[in-house]
Assembly symmetry: D3
Homo-oligomer: 341 residues x 6
């Protein structure tokens, strides 16, 4: 029987311009629904888990459409509470070459930002669950959301559920000070911590090295030092980061680094021609959870996560619609892209 895995957070309406249109050119928006933890849930459903997404959505057809979008891709939506005022929105303009993609958020006052623990029966939710994943976005949504997140984490731990976090700092949602205050406390419940240098600094206060990500350079050494500090301070089982080399909006290098307290492992690197990079980090988290649950070796888990998320960059929408077989074929070496008949 499929393992039960749980993620909790916001699912937003994503309104993106078709093709490479700028916002001011758009006469229509492509519609999908997505959000950090929802995206992770879809990855996990695709890999065969009994994936549950916990959130709150208004009782209107837009909220229903978000639910339907999740159901379509196999996520169990039974734990989604109904109520509140609105579905959060983000507008997306897809960049190309030296023109960056642009995101405009309109997510204040969404149903999940105003939800409380009365909306959920967390012990039922975490009963028999193998994994719980959340991101730093969820507690940043509002003060009640921060409280809600901690209640979920307590229940998860009560039910012996492994917990992962994607730090995911969002400067539009909170200040580094507030982030540190909230997130440092939540780290006590976390087993696996995913976050890049910016996250580590803004969310947890670890000083990054001199990496200048806009220059597409990577300084693995800088990460090692930070990872050791993070492991030491919070006792994570694994500290993990993706390593994006942004050559342009069209082409990126993509790899990842994991630290298990003893050893650093840097994955294979992929050069990806980008179709849609939004959700890339979430697909990495989804792949990593699969890998750590299904594979014996944390290095193989990382390779799965990196291959899965490399593939995500070739898929439209927030969700990573790939199967375990497709990821395995890639990581076992066939990146030739030959037609499969």
């Amino acid at each position: 029987m499929a393992k039960k895995v749980v993620t909790m957070g916001e699912i937003m309406l994503r309104l993106s311009t078709p093709g490479y249109q700028r916002f001011t050119q758009a006469e229509s928006f492509d519609v999908v629904y997505g959000g950090g933890e929802a995206n992770v849930a879809v990855s996990l459903a695709n890999y065969g888990f009994d994936a549950h997404f916990v959130s709150k959505l208004p009782e209107n057809p837009i909220g229903q459409s978000a639910i339907n979008h999740l159901r379509r891709f196999g996520v169990n939506t039974d734990y989604i509470a109904k109520g509140g005022e609105r579905v959060g929105i983000y507008y997306l303009e897809t960049g190309a070459s030296m023109r960056p993609s642009k995101v405009v958020y309109d997510r204040a006052n969404s149903s999940i930002a105003e939800a409380s623990s009365k909306d959920f029966d967390f012990d039922a939710i975490f009963k028999d669950a193998a994994w719980f994943h959340f991101s730093g976005i969820t507690p940043a949504l509002s003060e009640t959301a921060a409280v809600l997140t901690e209640e979920a984490l307590k229940a998860a731990k009560r039910n012996n559920v492994t917990v992962s976090v994607d730090l995911n700092y969002r400067k539009k949602l909170w200040t580094p000070e507030r982030a540190k205050e909230v997130m440092s406390n939540l780290m006590q419940y976390v087993d696996v911590c995913i976050g890049n240098e910016e996250d580590a600094e803004k969310v947890l206060g670890f000083k990054p090295g001199e990496t200048d990500v806009t220059k597409g350079e990577l300084q693995l050494e800088g990460y090692k030092d930070i990872f050791k500090q993070m492991k030491e301070q919070f006792g994570f089982k694994y500290v993990v980061t993706t390593l994006r080399e942004s050559y342009s909006a069209s082409d990126n290098g993509w790899s990842a680094l994991i630290y298990n307290g003893e050893e650093f492992y840097h994955s294979k690197k992929y050069d990806v021609r980008i179709v849609d990079r939004v959700g890339g980090g979430d697909s990495f988290a989804g792949g990593l959870i699969y890998g750590l649950l299904a594979k014996d070796d944390f290095k193989q888990a990382l390779e799965f996560a990196v291959g899965a998320s490399a593939l995500k960059h070739t898929i439209n929408g927030d969700f990573n619609l790939v199967t375990v077989d497709e990821v395995e074929t890639l990581i076992q070496g066939d990146a030739s892209g030959r037609v499969q008949r």
Copy 2:
């Protein structure tokens, strides 16, 4: 030189499902921008006036897109203030036959709802203006918006500008009690009042007759009584209403009634096959303002308004994209729809 006319209110992002899709089927939304007074401004620009729309929009690409949409159709946007958090949204699902169109609003906390009179130089705005139009939606947006509306009205009167209102009761925005409180006060500045029975009752407290609009019946007599009361209490120069007979979501009857204190005049009635009925009432207001400014006879003004708004029902989007010539051809009797080569 073209007469200067001014409208003030909210312009929203309208997200509508293509074809006759239901919300839960939509993979894309058609994008236009519209709102009661913005729609009126576009009508007036089309008829050759120097039409100004006063509002506030955030400094982001969505706000800019709303401005561009207005500019495209000839509206002067120089008086639009920049700032605030968001562009209000309404979702639209177009009905057919016995399935009604459905609107879901997500307009709370929009920039204009949070604007104050500091954002506008009303004396500059109304200098040399011939007309000011607003609707009952604008003061309903927020308490500050109600204050803002009165300040605009005072300035308009200070500058000897004729004022029209479309009562337009919106139950999602305020209660009848609050509506009455605010709107009764604002009526002192109004010369021309447009509103149907529901508006008259909910906004101004006049008791309607027994018309049951869902049955598609019309009781002209009931209106006459109410119109007389309205004229008496508020001293309007004209009291006007559209008369919609909703046979179905696909076919409507459409006419209007005007009262100048002495005489009632019921326009010609059109049977319209509907392409998009949203903005029908606004196109009527726009046509009426044109008629009263450009024609000698209030009856001819009404016929223009009804013809213009009948045509609106055949046009996608909130805006009524017709010329004076097209309306005149229709009201002079050619409703045959023969191809114009």
Copy 3:
């Protein structure tokens, strides 16, 4: 807790031309998935039941897409077997005015047509189920499908499940002789029988009256005689038919007739402007099952079914995407199609 209801049959890929294009004009096909019993399952899921669809689909992305389409609209797909060669297809060209819609079937050798009872655990499927629905299409798919259908029916009866059938004669699938042979036997398991005159004649051998459906005439009297015979011979609890008056491909009259052995009841009639009439009969069956399960009065059940299926004609695709509330609003009298804000 939601009642469990089960339907079984084929779900096909529907490829329809956009707009009113003819097949020879099409450069793209709109894609949905549908089929008689699948459509009924979606209706039942929309009305809040725990609706299960039983079928077989190949293990390829087209089969997966059919499953996802059902999941999106709330149908439980856990009982769908995987295997076989292909998803059946039907091509649809939407007519208008005097040009009829055209369906081209390409459904031979689909997975469900080649499925056997080994693919399903019928006792698990019907455990705690309240209703089972199938149509005359399923046993017509192949000889093995006819055997499979009877095994399902036996299991349903073993588990005390109420059974309904929609006779749905398809001349491309079998001859009247073969239909009679197979279907007459299956009627012993049926409680509620839905079928029009053509079905009654071709499938069960009852001689119709002189109704000429292409002329848009209806002869209720002819039906009464047949219904009595059907009731007598097979002991149905209810015999039901929809009554379509096909004025043109764009406009139809739509009502229904039910007989409970004592009384004939002819529903309200709706004149529908058609958006998509495919699945109209299935949406009627779905509405009827809801009505008979949720309402005390078989007449009210019929009114619900007719209102629901009238609404279906305004919705694109095979599925009837309406809620109980929307149907109730219509059958309680508001067919005005006024915008719902």
Copy 4:
């Protein structure tokens, strides 16, 4: 072996706004290619004739696309000359309800308007041909086109080809005076003359009765008088007109009248819900030519022509994409629009 039929004229690029968009809303144009005689050729190819279209098109990809569009629908394009400067264009905005469709022509200086008889070997073209059709548009294109048309007609007569004309007056192309001068001369070659009252007056100088077509009234009696005069003066074998009752841009009545010198025959009338009425008259001409070539009875020929062209109104684009079988089904009485499975 299929009969050879020939038409000659202009084929234009048609740029139409999608849906019911106005020109000023369009961000894309739908593309087809069409023109009076090209449309007739497609009808004739659909009915199984060896249909040839004679024209001239520039040697560029737009000219090639026009050829491909004809080939796709079975027209033989071997007689199309290559050269000249441009493909003529017409812009089309599709109306609805009381808003008329609008055509903007941009056809001056097209290749066919500047073609001469050196571009064509008319005796080869008309060898073994059964019919030649042209319209009043072709000689109106330019002075050289008028000369070219007469040369074609002389060659047709030399080869014993039956000739039909659709008078088709276009006020943007020439004056009534010039039309009369050119067309009166060409009538000597014509066997079958199609034209409505406006054509008869503007092109041939026959005084119409008091029919006011914008009022949707029809005065059959007025036609009879004109038809007799036309027959008398030019010796036509048949004089024919379509009778359009333009209720609105969405709904028309459609029938036709034929006179064989002895008898007037008024066809069955169809009420059509319009998808695209452009090319309606051409589809009538195509149907009439088929009818007169394939049927014994001129009344049956007329019924075929009317049925065929009624169906055209339900089909997008200039071309009438229907088969003989589809027309026969309709004229034999099935206008119910029931789905054909």
Copy 5:
């Protein structure tokens, strides 16, 4: 007068997801019709030949659409037989970067797979023909198709027609054993043999070298050995292969190798940014046939074929829509892609 060339095989309906959508995301499919030999016929028609495609298609609108698609692009369809049950289908999902394109076939029981020589008059078909081309797909469709292919080949040879084959092994259609049995026999009729290493091994039993195509490596030496064996055993005039270096689904290297029994010639190599690579091999065959018929030098023929098929990778759909001039411009050295005004 244009040379007559003939190809024979299956033309399928191709249903491809728009953009880079995965199958499970698709709400519509783009529609073209294509298949190995049909694609070759279109290339040959584009190059000015009198190109005939021989096949069988059902008498329904889908079959007609396939014919129309061929006619549009200049292929003569007079030899296509009518009858049988269905048009074969292939579903296509376009890959990007490391995600491969995916093809799902649904082609069993198509009309051509069930055709027999009674459907064709091969001596008429090959009368005055200069070339006949077929692929290894056609005899693989069914046992009757294998018989049919040999009958066509015998007739071609009877009529002194040059014959080319593209070996094109399809593992979904037959085993290497069956392929060898059938194809080895057919090789006696072949003058020009096109096939890569996999084809040579699976279809003809020649042992390939150690080339691992998934690694994007090329081993020209390995080919030379095989080519010599092929030439020796079957007496081909030319043995030819394309050489694809699959860097990713987005970028490929593309060249070709030819052997005339004396000399090996390796063409120029192109690095192509891929729009649609399906039909790349067919466009090579089409270019090669053109080259061998129109050019004196087999090396120039090969360069034409490689240039033509490099261009194909930039064109949507199965067909290579380029002219001789466009190919010549490329192979004479202008690959700069500068705008042509």
Copy 6:
């Protein structure tokens, strides 16, 4: 207050095939309006200037649509004269990889080509203007257009307006001889001259070096010699050229060279992945005018121009829809294309 800048020329309807379709595949055209000087005006409006476009357009809905398109993006259209026959057209097929983009012009007899100085009040137009820009296309349109251009230039100089020209030789519009005759005379009014080698040779008669642009090579030295000659002969303040290295239709190198009479400055070079390169040169001119008006340093002006026009290559349509901030971010070094949230 924003500086007033003026450009004058033709705005055409651009009809482009969607995606990478070839013309013969297109069933629709994407619609924008553009032209050299109109594109420059839009750039200048985006950068905050009071940008005016001077032209003439017919009084029909296509002309109005061109005006609306300009207004939408902030250009003042008050100086556009109304009249004449048609809007010029250009058809665009977007290339990829080694397949070049293709432009087919159909611009003869457009309204602006037939305009005269009576249509414009040039002294009003240039009153208080800071800059006037035109291209070599405008005087090439017709003899009257050449006269009109000189009249505009005289008025500009009379009003002390700085003048720039983009030489832009178009071989379809005139011969090098005629170009030299007209343009050499106009150079007396010009302060800033933009043009590449081909322009310098064809329009002004300066002999280029041995650069072969189709080979993607650049010979800066050759330019230096020509620039000196140009400066000497015409007294330009600046001579400027863009330097395009056309690797393929998908990827270009992009930089520029400026000469102020003393110093040559070669900008940074960008490698651009192309979305739409039409209007690239115009966006460079727009950026250069901004730079020279807003920056102290001509080198910084050039960097702005190159950065702006590099970004243009990533934007659909003729217009460069970027802000000053976006260009500054790029030229200050962030070409990483990271998502902006």
